[in-house]
């Protein structure tokens, strides 16, 4: 199993948010994507799952689509819809059920187990609108548990989540690592990265450093990341780096 970025560039209105990024994620390990705001972290994840189209280059994953789980940012989800917690978690079985198929009794069992794991067994029948941000994030983690994927992509999983919930969900990340799954998470908390993610991709549109966390998150690298992120130009010249030759 491998997750490789080949010279990936993704732009918004011709301004690259992810610029000629190449590298390979450590297989069966947890990698944090770290960097200042606007560094292209979420954009990179979206391009990896195919929700955004790259301008050039590609993300090559040896995983089948059913083996990739993706947690979007909470702001992308319409929480006002009258759906129950159970129904939302059941959507994690999409690869089995598709648009029309059934989920079966064992599917429902898996959902019940997942909800128990994140501590929300009592909430199965509640509407999602009645949940707090932290509870809702637990529900989304339950959906990932149900997906049972080998590659797990998390976009800012701990935003607007209290300390206890963060701690519980980080324990899940640790468990996934122990199970040999590949976890890639966009994070903002330096301490979390150090404690739970052995590998880090530090980026500011381009790769600043990528490798073992302790060698990546140095003061010098972090300073470079902030400097590069600040270099936004309205009239930047067209990039001449030849993707294919590089």
């Amino acid at each position: 199993m491998s997750v490789v970025l080949e010279n990936l560039t993704v732009s918004y209105q011709r301004h690259p948010a992810v610029h000629h990024v190449s590298g390979e994620f450590a297989d069966g390990e947890a990698t944090a994507i770290f960097g200042p705001n606007g560094a292209g972290k979420s954009t990179l994840l979206k391009a990896m799952v195919g929700a955004l189209r790259p301008d050039s280059g590609r993300a090559v994953m040896s995983h089948r689509r059913a083996d990739i789980a993706y947690l979007p940012q909470q702001s992308e989800i319409d929480r006002s819809l009258p759906i129950t917690v159970e129904d939302l978690v059941l959507s994690g079985l999409w690869h089995r059920s598709g648009a029309f198929g059934g989920v079966g009794r064992d599917g429902r069992m898996r959902v019940a187990e997942a909800l128990a794991t994140v501590g929300l067994s009592e909430f199965a029948r509640r509407p999602i609108a009645a949940l707090s941000s932290g509870q809702f994030q637990r529900v989304l983690f339950a959906r990932i548990l149900v997906q049972d994927a080998r590659l797990i992509l998390l976009d800012e999983p701990f935003n607007a989540v209290d300390a206890k919930t963060t701690y519980d969900l980080l324990a899940l990340v640790r468990r996934w690592r122990a199970e040999g799954r590949t976890v890639i998470a966009v994070l903002h908390d330096y301490e979390q990265v150090h404690a739970y993610f052995p590998y880090t991709l530090l980026m500011a549109r381009e790769v600043v450093a990528w490798g073992k966390t302790e060698t990546v998150l140095t003061d010098a690298n972090l300073r470079r990341a902030v400097e590069r992120a600040a270099h936004w130009q309205d009239r930047a010249p067209v990039c001449r780096v030849d993707g294919e030759a590089a």
């Binding site: 209105q13 979206k46 799952v49 195919g50 929700a51 689509r65 059913a66 990739i68 993706y70 979007p72 992308e76 989800i77 319409d78 819809l81 009258p82 759906i83 939302l88 959507s91 999409w94 690869h95 059920s97 648009a99 029309f100 509407p127």
Partner: protein, 291 residues
């Protein structure tokens, strides 16, 4: 009791056109109610309005070709509506224009074209008929059309309910798992157009969307679950149809606006008193207990 009978039952017992109108209202309510609710939940409440205008030139061309013929006008209206939906969808996909703006642009062009065609070639009476319809003029053929659309709508919605709902809830996740969001969306828009076409014979292009949206928006104030909302919206739509027909009969009002206004009254009442989202129950609940 005789009095009540005269008031509520006699009009339907005595006149075939009233019975057909009532059956038409029931079928329209069954189709439009759930479709309207899905529009509300997909935050596309105004899209129904846009689509109802988009239908006009097709209906007008149908009218030009075959006169006041239901099949011709329905097919024309359906084609025009789906065309606008497709063009707007394509424009959103390949340019930076947002979906609602794109729909607004295309339906306005379509509407202008429709008015142009009608005014060049028909009398004002015809224009009035297309714009306002007449539920009392629903004949057996129209009834069959409306009922067929309702059946098709309910069956299709039942089939595409899961992807449609999940796509509204979490579009990025759905793209990540490779679900074909665009396909369901297009199917759903076709249902919207179909229901508007079914409605415009009875209510006119302007009013058809009223029976679709007002009961649907009202239903969100009454129920917690989607099923409950669908039942409520169908119920409100049918009750408005029944009440509107009676008002129209007893006070000699045009039936279309009477029906929609009654749905509006139901909405205003619900705004104040509905248990789930109404203002008064919310106020009472906000005065919580000490423990």
């Amino acid at each position: 009791m005789l009095h009540l009978y005269d008031l509520l039952v006699a009009p339907f017992a005595e006149f075939g056109f009233m019975r057909r109108a009532l059956a038409g209202c029931l079928a329209l309510a069954l189709g439009s109610g759930p479709v309207g609710l899905m529009l509300v939940m997909r935050r596309m409440s105004l899209m129904g309005d846009a689509m109802s205008h988009a239908v006009l030139p097709g209906a007008a061309i149908g009218f030009l070709v075959a006169g006041l013929s239901l099949p011709a006008m329905s097919v024309g209206g359906f084609v025009a509506g789906v065309l606008v939906a497709l063009l707007a969808g394509l424009a959103t996909r390949f340019t930076g224009v947002k979906e609602d703006a794109s729909f607004a642009a295309f339906f306005l062009m379509s509407l202008a074209l429709g008015v142009l065609i009608v005014s060049k070639s028909g009398s004002n009476v015809d224009l009035m008929h297309i714009l306002f319809g007449s539920v009392l003029a629903v004949d057996s053929a129209a009834l069959v059309l409306i009922a067929s659309v309702a059946s098709l709508t309910l069956t299709t919605l039942a089939l595409i309910y899961r992807p449609l709902m999940l796509e509204s809830l979490d579009p990025v996740f759905m793209r990540a798992v490779g679900a074909k969001g665009g396909l369901w969306h297009l199917l759903f828009l076709m249902l919207v157009v179909l229901n508007l076409v079914a409605g415009f014979q009875a209510l006119g292009t302007l009013m058809a969307v009223g029976l679709m949206m007002l009961p649907a928006i009202t239903s969100r104030l009454w129920a917690h679950s989607v099923g409950g909302m669908m039942l409520t919206s169908v119920g409100v739509a049918f009750a408005s149809g029944l009440g509107g027909l009676l008002l129209s009969y007893h006070f000699e009002l045009p039936s279309g606006p009477a029906i929609i206004l009654l749905a509006g009254v139901a909405y205003l009442f619900s705004l104040l008193f509905a248990p789930v989202g109404g203002a008064l129950p919310r106020y009472i609940r906000s005065r919580h207990f000490e423990q």
